[in-house]
């Protein structure tokens, strides 16, 4: 069967965009209670932990050692320096070097 890809794209746009936009729309028109505001303020921290674990260490499928060392580099480097860009480039370089040495 040949899909109607355009319909899929538009449908996916709707179900992706509505969850992104709705909260902004609601918050412009409603005042949130204090407890809810407090709940919302913890979301970035709660999301960050879940975005990193467990996926980060297995992000390089067949070479977990390479991605793990890259992530460890990022952890140590960002402890001492605030530059996010260099942290990212450094982690990529470490991962790449280790992965290349491991072969494949």
């Amino acid at each position: 069967m040949r899909y109607n890809i355009l319909a899929i794209i538009l449908g996916m746009f709707m179900v992706t965009y509505i969850p992104r936009y709705l909260p902004f729309f609601i918050s412009q028109n409603l005042h949130f209670p204090k407890r809810l505001k407090s709940f919302l303020s913890y979301i970035p921290v709660a999301a960050l932990g879940a975005l990193i674990l467990p996926d980060a260490f297995f992000s390089m499928g067949d070479k977990p050692l390479a991605s793990t060392l890259g992530i460890i580099f990022a952890g140590i480097f960002s402890y001492f320096y605030k530059n996010i860009f260099i942290t990212v480039v450094g982690a990529i370089s470490v991962t790449y070097l280790v992965a290349s040495c491991l072969g494949g």
């Binding site: 890809i5 996916m12 992104r20 936009y21 919302l40 390089m60 860009f85 982690a91």
Partner: protein, 236 residues
């Protein structure tokens, strides 16, 4: 003021752009395999702009899932952005309402995490430039992938993907130095998410929604309990 936002937004967006590019290229390459045309592949990235669900859609197209199945799976996968947008909406200065549809379009895990890590209120223009930087990389990457295929060696591409996790780590570490409560919640969130994921009972996409909800609620309870204790100490 405007140039400040421009500089800040682009600077924040660059590490994201760097991580998006190889992923978008992979999407371009896979589109071809799934029988999606170049125009369609481009529209996926330009209109849907949601990494994981685009890959999932290609996969579902290849295995012959129905239209409805694809949409429901996409909705489940992206529901986490509802929580993220809700959180960000509280951090914005009073904004020109016309900018909100654009700002919300660009909310991804990465844009959300980078913007949230900033202190104080977030300026809408900052968002626009942050989004633009990440978005351009996503689109150009898709195109490059479709046209040039495996331009980069696979080892380099998969190493570059690690960059996005390095980005999250770089956002996290300064916060760990600050407060015990934050450190506790982040570690808890990692553990809860790992546990939920490996249990295998929760469908993909719901795991992170569940984790964020549980951990944020614990954050609120902890805050209320600790503040109460502080009040008691004050009274003594």
């Amino acid at each position: 003021m405007k140039t400040e936002s421009l500089k800040d937004g682009v600077r924040s967006g660059l590490p994201i752009a760097m991580g998006y590019f190889p992923i978008a290229m992979t999407f371009g390459v896979l589109s071809k395999t799934a029988g999606v045309s170049m125009g369609e592949s481009f529209l996926f990235s330009a209109i849907v702009y949601a990494g994981a669900s685009q890959f999932m859609a290609l996969n579902m197209i290849m295995i012959g899932s129905s239209f409805t199945q694809i949409l429901i799976a996409t909705l489940l996968l992206n529901l986490r952005h509802f929580l993220m947008s809700a959180s960000l909406s509280q951090r914005m200065k009073v904004v020109d309402k016309r900018l909100l549809p654009i700002i919300s379009f660009g909310i991804t895990d990465e844009a959300f995490s980078v913007a949230s890590a900033r202190e104080g209120d977030i300026c809408p223009l900052y968002f626009i430039f942050l989004h633009l930087t990440a978005y351009l990389s996503w689109i150009v990457g898709t195109w490059t992938g479709f046209l040039a295929g495996e331009l980069l060696p696979p080892v380099l591409t998969s190493s570059m993907v690690v960059g996005l996790y390095a980005l999250f780590v770089a956002l996290l570490v300064p916060q760990l130095k600050g407060s015990y409560r934050v450190s506790f919640l982040v570690i808890l969130s990692g553990i809860v998410n790992t546990a939920i994921k490996s249990s295998g009972y929760i469908p993909r996409g719901w795991d992170i929604v569940l984790t964020i909800t549980i951990v944020s609620a614990i954050g609120v309870l902890l805050e209320e309990k600790l503040d109460k204790e502080e009040d008691n100490i004050d009274e003594i």
